[in-house]
């Protein structure tokens, strides 16, 4: 579909809040055309079929936070090619390409803001940057966001979207699973809530570390969430996977997530939840 391709090509250049030049977009699920103005007003959920269109990090911030409340924290930490990784393309070139495409140093955007006036620290993974893969920068920025939240006494929300750990940093990226876990412990010690929002797709090392040790785990409708990817599993079991396997609703049924929440209701859900979980001091 030409328009579908066009939409995908256009999306990364769209900055939230700027005028969107193209008038309409084809929904990748139901293939219906939707006015861009309606999409943006409706949190990028297809008004025809409810499909949750993938967001880049800036769109996610726009959808979640009160308008104008965002103050960015991330941006100074830059990736390096510590292993001098030999690939079909140099890692440094891959990075430069992804940086140019997304306008960020790596697959993460963090900052502070409010949701219906509730102050939060927010970290958002950017799937548009190298499939949201977690390398040293993602790990470091998530750790800093957690430490910022602990230091400033705000809840932390992490929005995940990741194909897993970043191969080009090998064991260094693997270690980010531990690093993020260490940093999140500071929130537990201060009794501050940490909520993860799992979006399509969240797999691999992210699923096996910070994404799933949240106090409350929320998933977006239809999101693919798992540790091993569907193809690897299929190779292991040599049979087709059941319909809906590893989707958000499947995980809810299997007890793995607390709720599947429509993107249009996430602000209200999170504000109420964080209000309820804000620690009241247990005397002595």
């Amino acid at each position: 579909m030409a328009l579908d391709r066009f939409f995908r090509r256009r999306r990364p250049q769209q900055q939230p809040g700027t005028d969107v030049p193209d008038l309409w977009t084809q929904c990748p699920a139901c293939k219906e055309g939707v006015y861009n103005r309606d999409l943006e007003a409706g949190a990028y959920v297809c008004p025809k079929c409810g499909h949750h269109i993938r967001l880049d990090a800036a769109q996610r911030v726009q959808v979640l936070l009160d308008e104008g409340s965002f103050t960015q924290l991330s941006g100074r930490v830059q990736p390096t090619d510590a292993l001098n990784f030999q690939d079909t393309e140099a890692y440094t070139d891959r990075l430069r390409r992804a940086q140019k495409k997304t306008g960020r140093p790596d697959a993460i955007l963090t900052g502070t803001g409010t949701i219906l006036d509730v102050p939060v620290t927010l970290a958002v993974m950017d799937f548009a940057f190298s499939g949201g893969s977690m390398g040293s920068v993602v790990g470091e920025e998530i750790a800093r966001a957690a430490e910022h939240a602990a230091a400033h006494g705000t809840p932390l929300i992490i929005v995940t979207a990741s194909g897993g750990a970043r191969m080009q940093e090998s064991a260094l990226s693997l270690m980010q699973m531990a690093k993020t876990t260490v940093a999140l412990e500071g929130l537990t010690e201060r009794g501050l809530p940490y909520v993860s929002l799992l979006t399509d797709p969240t797999t691999g090392g992210v699923t096996a570390s910070f994404a799933t040790i949240a106090d409350v785990i929320v998933a977006e409708p239809g999101a693919l969430i798992g540790f091993a990817g569907p193809r690897v599993i299929q190779q292991t079991i040599r049979q087709n996977l059941p319909e809906g396997f590893q989707r958000a609703e499947f995980l809810l049924e299997h007890g793995m997530v607390d709720a599947v929440v429509d993107r249009r209701e996430q602000r209200a859900y999170l504000a109420s939840l964080l209000g309820l979980l804000t620690r009241r001091e247990v005397s002595a």
């Binding site: 930490v77 693997l174 980010q176 876990t181 090392g205 699923t207 540790f227 190779q235 299997h254």
Partner: protein
């Protein structure tokens, strides 16, 4: 011109094929396999002893007859009492553990156990754990914490088991919880990668105060075959991927990911399990002795700091 090394590779490939067949069909082919394995061992011993390439090390880490976790326990521990089960769903033979005396010192063992013959390899899923394995590990870590037992974890897995049921029961959740539990322990934790250290499935019991690795073991975010499949769409390019991934013991020491490389006997640990075990035993005991001097709070904060700082990045002002 067929050099001995090629005969060896050919034979190794045949052994692997037969093992795959045995796994698929559930048949015990040891009668056919054992003579082949013996010949492989003989040829390996005869090889010239130049510093192995990264891919050669990966093959040594997978060598037929390489000591498994229980081979070290047999040689180094008395009174190993295996404790079973996650108290929720099942007992995983791929990740086992329990209290034991490590060269006389009471410890809690966590072991990724690949199996020693075809039958036990299949039963233990070649050391690839299900969520139950990691949940049992968490339970044993709770006991270690409660009773002040240092934890010794022997890592040897290509990764967590990528099965349908493992996903249904929360493989990612179980690994994450195991990482968190180990990071929070108030007792000393020493990890040794004794063969393969594959991805999150290895890290799940790999986040201790001291991470050691045997000379020919590997540790990486992805297996060489997995990386080759992604990069070149061709798993046979694994030797190239092994180079790229910097997954050997010397690489990891340079990156600050491990504290120490434990030497292996000439030709690899499988050439002399007793000698390999002596080196592992000595190294672990030495680190346990050093850590015994630290108090609970220091053990936890030092361990946290160790992992907090890992990673490579620059920072703009």
């Amino acid at each position: 011109m067929t050099a001995p090394i090629d005969t060896l590779k050919e034979l190794e490939a045949r052994v692997r094929d037969l093992e795959v067949t045995a796994q698929k069909t559930g048949q015990n082919l040891d009668a056919a396999l054992n003579p082949l394995r013996a010949e492989v061992d003989r040829l390996r011993a005869a090889q010239p002893k130049a510093a192995p390439t990264r891919w050669e090390r990966v093959q040594l880490a997978r060598a037929q007859g390489r000591p498994t976790a229980l081979d070290y326990v047999d040689r180094l521990c008395t009174e190993f009492t295996e404790l079973h089960g996650d108290r929720r769903y099942g007992d995983d033979p791929a990740l086992i553990g329990g209290p034991a005396r490590w060269q006389g010192v009471p410890v809690m063992l966590l072991l990724q156990q690949k199996g020693r013959d075809t039958k036990s390899k299949i039963k233990r899923r070649f050391g690839s754990a299900n969520p139950e394995g990691y949940r049992k590990a968490v339970r044993l870590m709770d006991l270690a914490d409660k009773f002040g037992l240092p934890v010794v974890a022997l890592v040897d897995t290509q990764g967590a088991y990528p099965g349908l049921e493992a996903e249904e029961r929360g493989q990612g959740w179980a690994i994450a919880e195991s990482i968190r539990r180990m990071l929070n322990l108030r007792v000393p934790v020493v990890n040794v990668v004794i063969g393969e250290g594959g991805s999150g499935g290895a890290l799940a019991i790999g986040v201790g105060n001291r991470v050691l690795i045997q000379e020919n073991a590997w540790y990486s975010v992805i297996s060489p075959e997995g990386a080759a499949s992604i990069i070149w769409k061709d798993a046979s390019k694994a030797p190239l991927a092994a180079e790229a991934l910097r997954l050997t013991a010397p690489d990891l020491l340079k990156l600050g990911i491990v504290e120490e490389v434990i030497p292996e006997p000439a030709g690899g640990a499988h050439q002399n399990a007793d000698e390999a075990a002596r080196a592992v035993g000595e190294a672990v005991t030495r680190h346990l002795r050093e850590l015994a001097a630290q108090d609970a709070a220091t053990l936890k904060t030092d361990r946290a700091a160790r992992f907090r700082r890992l990673g490579a990045y620059t920072e703009t002002p």
